[in-house]
Symmetry: C2
Subunit: 308 residues, 2 copies
């Protein structure tokens, strides 16, 4: 097995809350240092930027990039050019073109590039995919509704270009849907609701279809107070499936198949180590492509200004 | 050589003005019929829709799809499933995901799929590409400015989602830039100016870069009166190149290399016949991907309402 000596680039909320404990649980993966201009971890070498970290620790052979989206391309490119494997937090870039360019570079350099979609590692996703593979999908309802004030306090970047607004959580739903649905699907109609003081949508209604003309509806909303909803319901020619709680709970024809605590990032890091071990990459841009399609083809409506 | 028996699907302005004369000049390609609910050509069988045309003329082995963008996927899919080769006018679809899906289907069906970018067949493009291939690009200025009232009279679809606004001509510039520039490039910053009564931009300023940090600027404007501008200027480590008049005129280091009448669609159809002959497809989505990136990552500004 490879021994992964990891550098964490960007040590914000997601790196601290999710990456750190997951790395600690991952066999054959040691966290060597962090690179972040603002924070570091007590007891671990911390550097202002990635290059400083890589210069000080030539033993680092892989980096996990958790910086703001628009910085990721340059950092990933620098790391790949220096012969490091790269894990990209979701979304893998600010634009599709820059991600495509990294795929080419990783192949040229012989390094593993992993565009990580954490929701794909939720407990019920793999079994949902396997069950649906044999069936004809007729109708899909995706409801992804959460309270932006709870989940993104003090994060104005989410309302700026590249922040994606409600597609920041919505892309998680799309990363699951593109995994479990047996056919590719594409947008037929979309409505994006943009607060008058924001660049990105606070809510979206999307109608997709696939080659078999299934009706696939997604409703994303950032204004949900009270209980939060991260559910996907699928009706097929042979029964119904519900993947709820962000993928943690799987119910098929009324029977609870899985109801488990999520360990998404532990599974995600195990996959990264296995990619490095197998000298493979895993970059599926389809969730980000769906978001770009929605921005390209969706109808925009201006709604009330957002105040945090 | 293959004998292409062609059906024209969507017989609007572009089909009439460009496809029709080009097909007449193309060896081994005969126009059999048209499918359009509103118009037909005197002396040629005309049908209300594509399926009616294909049913009446089983000898048709290829279709050119020139319908409004949002209709193209369904028609292309139907044609591929019936064993017809397909040419898609630009842009090849309303979304990236539907174009990806057609690529897969064409390969499965063993049919040629051609996402046609007519500007790539402008007289100076091939030589500009060859000259730049050996050089290091330092700076690119793309100016694509035309009068929407002259070029798109009575075409409100251009201001609707999918119509792409100023990116309808701008994508031609992008289709040339992605051909002649030796490195892939990607958006770093974008400003989209949207009229207050429209869904799509009337002007755009885009700043791209490539892996060698070249500065690539594009300025698209639909409000240009008087002389029209379709120019690309490239500064390299070894001289300068100007591709102007939409690609018709090529000047290198002050010397006129090419100054020719455009025959874009004649070249385009010759390429389609050669693709069919070689059992190949040619689908480069990079121009549409750049537009989607601009919609995804560009900063929007509201400007004066547009009145035709």
């Amino acid at each position: 097995m490879s021994n992964v000596q990891l550098g964490l680039v960007g040590f914000g909320k997601i790196a601290h809350d999710q990456h750190l404990p997951a790395i600690a649980e991952t066999a054959n993966c040691q966290l060597v240092a962090t690179a972040d201009p603002y924070t570091s971890l007590q007891g671990l070498p911390g550097y202002q930027d990635m290059q400083e970290m890589l210069d000080a620790h030539p033993e680092i052979n892989a980096v996990a990039i958790c910086t703001p989206t628009h910085l990721r391309y340059t950092q990933a490119r620098m790391a790949l050019l220096q012969g490091k494997h790269v894990l990209l937090e979701k979304p893998p870039g600010a634009t599709l073109s820059e991600v495509e360019s990294l795929v080419t570079l990783a192949a040229e350099q012989g390094m593993s590039l992993f565009a990580a979609w954490h929701s794909r590692f939720a407990p019920g996703v793999a079994q949902a995919r396997d069950w649906l593979r044999e069936r004809q999908v007729q109708r899909v309802d995706i409801e992804w509704k959460e309270d932006v004030r709870v989940w993104h306090p003090g994060q104005p970047w989410i309302w700026q270009p590249g922040g994606m607004g409600v597609f920041d959580p919505g892309i998680n739903a799309l990363s699951i849907a593109t995994t479990i649905l047996p056919q590719p699907f594409f947008l037929r109609q979309g409505i994006l609701q943009i607060p008058s003081n924001c660049q990105t949508p606070i809510a979206a209604e999307l109608a997709f279809t696939d080659a078999q003309k299934a009706s696939i509806k997604a409703h994303f909303d950032f204004r949900q107070t009270g209980p939060q909803t991260w559910d996907i319901h699928v009706k097929t020619d042979d029964g119904e499936l519900s993947l709820t709680q962000g993928g943690g709970r799987l119910v098929i024809n009324g029977e609870i198949i899985i109801d488990a605590e999520e360990r998404e990032y532990v599974e995600l890091y195990a996959h990264f180590v296995s990619l490095i071990d197998g000298q493979r990459s895993d970059v599926d841009i389809s969730p980000l492509r769906h978001v770009a399609d929605a921005f390209l083809y969706g109808h925009r409506e201006t709604v009330d200004a957002f105040a945090e």
